[in-house]
């Protein structure tokens, strides 16, 4: 992208001028250093492509962890007018409601009678991970899965996984209204039947870390986050159920794109008007998959707690295990935002981006209303992760959205090539991280050098006022999918 098309408008903000078929400009949050790596792949072109979709409002946004995806860039945010706009399965991605849950504990490393290695091994044997992982809990019938698709995390609680108090600490209480199992294919039900409670592969992980730094004492206290205490971060989504729903609805929306004569620069941007039957059906199917993912994370969290109790031989109250927050980062949501001088209902697509609502938002639980919504930003497995909160600026500037992680800088292939000849387990152990994985190849693909510097990503968002840093976590043990 030329310098005429891309220009810097402040220390952390860049703009792609409106040109050709773009309906709005592109807006990218990045430091100079991050922009260098962003320019090395096709992601800026994808920002401009998204800007061409009907009904887009304001800007086609990219967060500092942006990288080349398929269709939408990963790290992309776009809001579409509810009357004139579209919804795109490719704008959500295959892993619908892929997301992150942060859990806090009362334990410090010194309190552990066993090692982090023992804890990781216990969780590893209790939570199925890796390619096609299955069988964490009984295989669910079609009727069970329909309930999962409607009820999300509360289905898991009803079935003995966790406590109803957990729901307070999940985005949308872990249940999106408007799911509709009747429009979901048999294929999706088949793929999801034995996958509730499984981690999957790729970049999915479970991490035990400790609170290394507190930046905002009031917010940290509110969230029950205290220095040196152990925390657990879980990253997974809707597994084969979501992948199949995305696949099915890209086909549906490719036909809709032709039917409604929508011009798209890439087939993966297939979309349907929000008001059309195809658009409404996708929204309902996507919400069902999102509920599957919320249930999945709720079940896995409960399996992790059980593993810890068993390994350490202590009671739930001694562990003090509870969710801090559970966030979706591949999703489309109908939300009300102020645009210009008026309130507008929009469909916000967040593809590899998280919601980051500021203080006083009515959708936040009472306990977090003063501090703003927790925003979880895991880094790579060797360095650090961040807990932040959303801000009023995010509400004004990015439709209440922020970054979701470090963002890849090397392709998986390049990362594997770079890892050749390196003792990966030893290298990670030297930085104080014990790792277990079903496939060694996954560790190579997910090594720290494959990712951008997460602190640079977080500092950029923090300096732009989109989020506020609350705490930093140092990883101690990781299970890679």
């Amino acid at each position: 992208m030329s310098n005429q098309e891309l220009h810097k408008i402040s220390e952390q903000v860049w703009e792609i001028s409106k040109s050709g078929s773009m309906r709005v400009p592109g807006r990218i949050f990045a430091s100079d250093k991050l922009m260098q790596s962003i320019r090395s792949d096709e992601s800026l072109k994808q920002v401009a492509n998204v800007a061409q979709l009907p009904g887009i409002i304001g800007y086609s946004f990219a967060m500092p962890d942006i990288h080349w995806g398929y269709g939408f860039p990963i790290g992309g945010v776009a809001a579409f007018d509810i009357e004139e706009g579209i919804i795109s399965p490719g704008g959500v991605g295959y892993d619908i409601n892929c997301g992150v849950r942060l859990m806090r504990t009362n334990l410090t490393l010194a309190d552990l009678k066993k090692s982090v290695k023992d804890l990781i091994a216990g969780i590893f044997s209790n939570v199925p991970s890796g390619i096609g992982s299955h069988g964490a809990i009984r295989k669910l019938s079609r009727r069970d899965l329909e309930q999962v698709a409607l009820e999300g995390a509360s289905w898991a609680v009803k079935n003995g996984f966790g406590d109803s108090a957990d729901l307070e600490y999940i985005e949308d209480r872990g249940q999106l209204a408007g799911g509709d199992p009747s429009i979901i294919s048999q294929r999706a039900f088949e793929r999801g039947a034995d996958q509730v409670g499984t981690l999957g592969s790729g970049n999915h992980f479970i991490e035990i870390g400790k609170v290394a730094d507190i930046f905002d004492q009031v917010a940290a206290d509110t969230m029950g986050i205290f220095k040196d205490k152990l925390v657990i971060i879980l990253h997974t989504g809707s597994r084969g159920f979501g992948y199949q729903i995305c696949d099915d609805f890209i086909k549906t929306t490719l036909n809709a794109t032709r039917k409604y004569e929508i011009q798209i620069p890439d087939r993966q941007l297939a979309c349907a008007p929000l008001k059309s039957p195809e658009g409404r059906d996708y929204l309902a199917a996507m919400r069902s998959a999102a509920n599957f993912a919320f249930a999945n994370r709720q079940v896995i969290a409960s399996l992790i707690e059980n593993s810890m109790m068993k390994t350490l031989g202590i009671s739930p109250s001694e562990i003090g295990f509870r969710p801090v927050w559970d966030i979706a980062h591949n999703i489309a949501k109908i939300e009300e935002h102020q645009f210009g001088t008026k309130n507008t209902r929009v469909c916000v697509h967040r593809k590899g981006a998280t919601r980051a609502f500021g203080p006083d938002h009515p959708d936040l639980p009472e306990v977090y209303r003063k501090i703003g919504q927790p925003v979880l930003i895991p880094g790579d497995m060797g360095t650090e992760s961040f807990l932040c909160v959303g801000t009023t600026t995010a509400m004004q500037e990015t439709f209440g959205s922020a970054c979701h992680g470090a963002g890849r800088v090397l392709s998986r292939h390049q990362a594997k090539a770079k890892a050749r000849g390196i003792d990966l387990y030893k290298t990670l152990a030297e930085s104080g991280v014990y790792v277990m994985a079903e496939q060694k190849g996954t560790i190579a693909e997910e090594m720290p050098f494959a990712y951008k510097d997460v602190s640079e990503v977080v500092e950029t968002m923090n300096a732009a006022g989109i989020i506020r840093k609350v705490a930093r976590f140092k990883p101690l043990g990781v299970i890679k999918g």
């Binding site: 995806g69 398929y70 269709g71 995305c246 392709s411």
Partner: protein, 140 residues
Amino acid sequence: MKKRVYTTFPHTADLGIEVYGADLPALFEHSASALFDLMINPRQIKEKETVEFSVRADEPELLLREWLGELLYYSISRHFIFKSFRIKKLTGRELQATATGEAFDSQRHNLKREIKSVTYHELKIIHGDNGWQARFVLDI
């Protein structure tokens, strides 16, 4: 795979594939071989059972994606892996083919990666001086 009929191209998050074939049936067969070669070493697969596939789509590129999508779905849902492929009929809108392989056995089969889907991102079929070429991106 005896002869390299595909290469991967760098894609930050996912996996880009370029496949070559002397004609369209060869291109479709090689695309299927590439898909499974990226999941598992074909030397680990025995040719025990043959499955028939019939696929329709409006354009050749969409037909290619449908063919690969059907193979992937069959593989995931039936825990089955394929080694060889034969195109019996191929028009611009219809494909009939067979795929031969065996049931997945975790004792003998070592999967390299999970492929979530064959995306439509920059999906292309090009006819050049040296035959046919297809380009697609896998979500992994």
